[in-house]
Amino acid sequence: MRTMALETPDIGDEVKPIHEVDCVVKSNAPVNGEYRLLVLDAPLKILDCEPGQFFHLLCPISGNLQPYLRRPMSIYGYYPDKGELHFLYKVTGEGTAAMATMKKGDTFNVLGPLGKGFDILPNWQNLLLVARGVGLATLAPLALEARRLNRNLTAICSARSKSVLMSLDYFRDLGVNVIALTDEEATSSVGNMRRIIEALIANEGVDAMYTCGSNRILKLLQDVGKSHRIPGQIALEQQMACGFGMCQCCVRAFHREGLIVNERVCTEGPVFDLQEAIGC
């Protein structure tokens, strides 16, 4: 009988410790109509991160806002040179609403870095990143790492409107070839996205694809990946309790060797093989 789930993790010396740290808020301001950027003064020991990893955040209690469990959030930026940890977020619930109340000088308890990040294999020279909305935040550290490794990166960024197309300057400043698609310009359809990707594959070539979040993009990239034999990775989300493997709350189903297996997004992920992922 084949194994239905990953074997118990081997906690050897090579496994990194998890740190729980009180950081100090440097700034916490809106970057456009919908998103806010939180900049934390963070110790070096928590800034040894990989693109795609996340932190588990203890959101403050503020008046009527009383989040209880920690909230997982992907890292928007980690800068050991500046001692900064960045999160880009949209207020969607009690946890993020409480985060939005934090002011410069407040302390903020974070746990991490957690999870398995993106891979950039040595022979992956031309990278394609496809994201919708805030998904871009999860992929931003990947752009920085691609630049550090001297890889070519194209980013297809889709959003409702130009005004919420976030981080584009950030990506352009890193030398990324940015292709912006919006609903208001009617350029964000799956069909159009597919034509653009097919053209990239035909012209420059694509060695690996990265995405997160959107089911439509996942299905498109799985399809493109299969027909052109291009590998890919996806960062997935799931509601979490503990955030590092104990509680089995955050499982999702994956295709593996002809079986459907459950894996923990917090520990085996949040980055998974594109073809193994199942949308929800």
Binding site: T3, P9, L69, A241, M246, C249, V251
Partner: protein
């Protein structure tokens, strides 16, 4: 010299703080040295591989949480091969939590996990008994006694019975477990509860209902731990909503010889270590030398048994 040790039958723990089953795993070794706590308690295992309940498996309610994880298990073989060897590197005793759908399956699994490296077996009799209309074994004294007798015959290791709050017969169930040979009681598992999203009108858990844990549940589990400590002679291990040092002390005063910490570890992964340190400092400031001086020290006056063992709010 301060003495944080506590005895659970023949088993001596260096301190009375241990994790609750399901909220602990090898992964916590990435946060602190696991030998700082009194014992290690595994997630409940079943003989067969199980995938667990549909998601969402957890939701939060004000200041607490509900879960319907549903005992996903890699099966007993993987457990014996991978999990027990991992804990051999630690001095803290390993407590293995097991569950099964019938008394015979329970006993056979109990026998199979009675191996070197295991210090005691916690039997999660709060799970549904498939032979008896699906109600948990520990909801009734008769089913508790029946399963505990079979378990008692299956192992020489200490047996801890984990009770359920989903019963109106707390002390009867506790006495039945004791009569059938339990060495200790863990009081208790989570309380059946529910939450609904008023916008989608969908239950917030994939399994519709789940177990309440966290601070909101503490007074209920504390009441049960108190009643059990009053009604049996075997040790009681308190479990339910313990979130800070004061909660630990409260359970000890109520009669628990040790405590299990669960949900609080999700919020503060190092909380158990902080509790051990805090308990030592507390004993010092109180002029106490041992944990046992606190255990059962509740000043409940000369109340009647009727009051102590009541099952309905007055």
């Amino acid at each position: 010299m301060l003495d944080l040790t506590t005895k659970i039958g023949t088993l001596k723990l260096k301190n009375p703080i241990m994790p609750a089953s399901g909220t602990f795993s090898e992964d916590l070794a990435r946060v602190f040295d696991l030998d700082l706590i009194g014992a290690h308690v595994t997630k409940t295992i079943t003989r067969e591989k199980r995938s667990g309940n549909p998601t969402p498996r957890v939701c939060e309610v004000r200041g607490s949480m509900l879960n319907s994880i549903g005992i996903p298990s890699k099966g007993v073989e993987a457990f014996l091969a991978n999990v027990i060897p991992f804990y051999a590197q630690y001095d803290a005793p390993l407590i293995v939590s097991i569950s099964a759908g019938s008394a015979d399956e329970f006993a056979s699994l109990c026998e199979d996990v009675s191996v070197p490296g295991v210090a005691a077996i916690e039997v999660n009799i709060s799970c549904p008994n498939i032979e008896e209309d699906g109600k948990a074994f520990a909801m009734r004294p008769s089913t508790t006694e029946a399963v505990m007798r079979k378990l008692r015959n299956a192992t020489d290791l200490p047996l801890w019975a984990k009770l359920t709050p989903n019963t109106g017969e707390t002390t009867e169930v506790a006495k039945a477990a004791e009569a059938a040979g339990a060495d200790a009681l863990v009081v208790s598992n989570t309380l059946l509860a529910m939450a609904i999203d008023i916008h989608t009108r969908r239950p917030k858990l994939g399994n519709l209902m789940g177990g309440l844990s966290g601070p909101a549940f503490k007074p209920i589990a504390l009441r049960m731990a108190y009643q059990c400590a009053k009604s049996v002679d075997i040790p009681v291990i308190g479990c339910g909503g313990i979130s800070n040092l004061e909660d630990v002390i409260e359970y000890l005063i109520a009669g628990a010889v040790a405590v299990q910490v669960g949900t609080a570890t999700f919020i503060e992964p190092k909380i158990m270590v902080n509790m051990v340190e805090g308990l030592e400092a507390y004993l010092k400031t109180q002029g106490l030398q041992t944990v046992s001086q606190l255990v059962g020290s509740v000043d409940d006056g000369e109340v009647s048994d009727g009051l102590v063992f009541m099952e309905a709010a007055p």
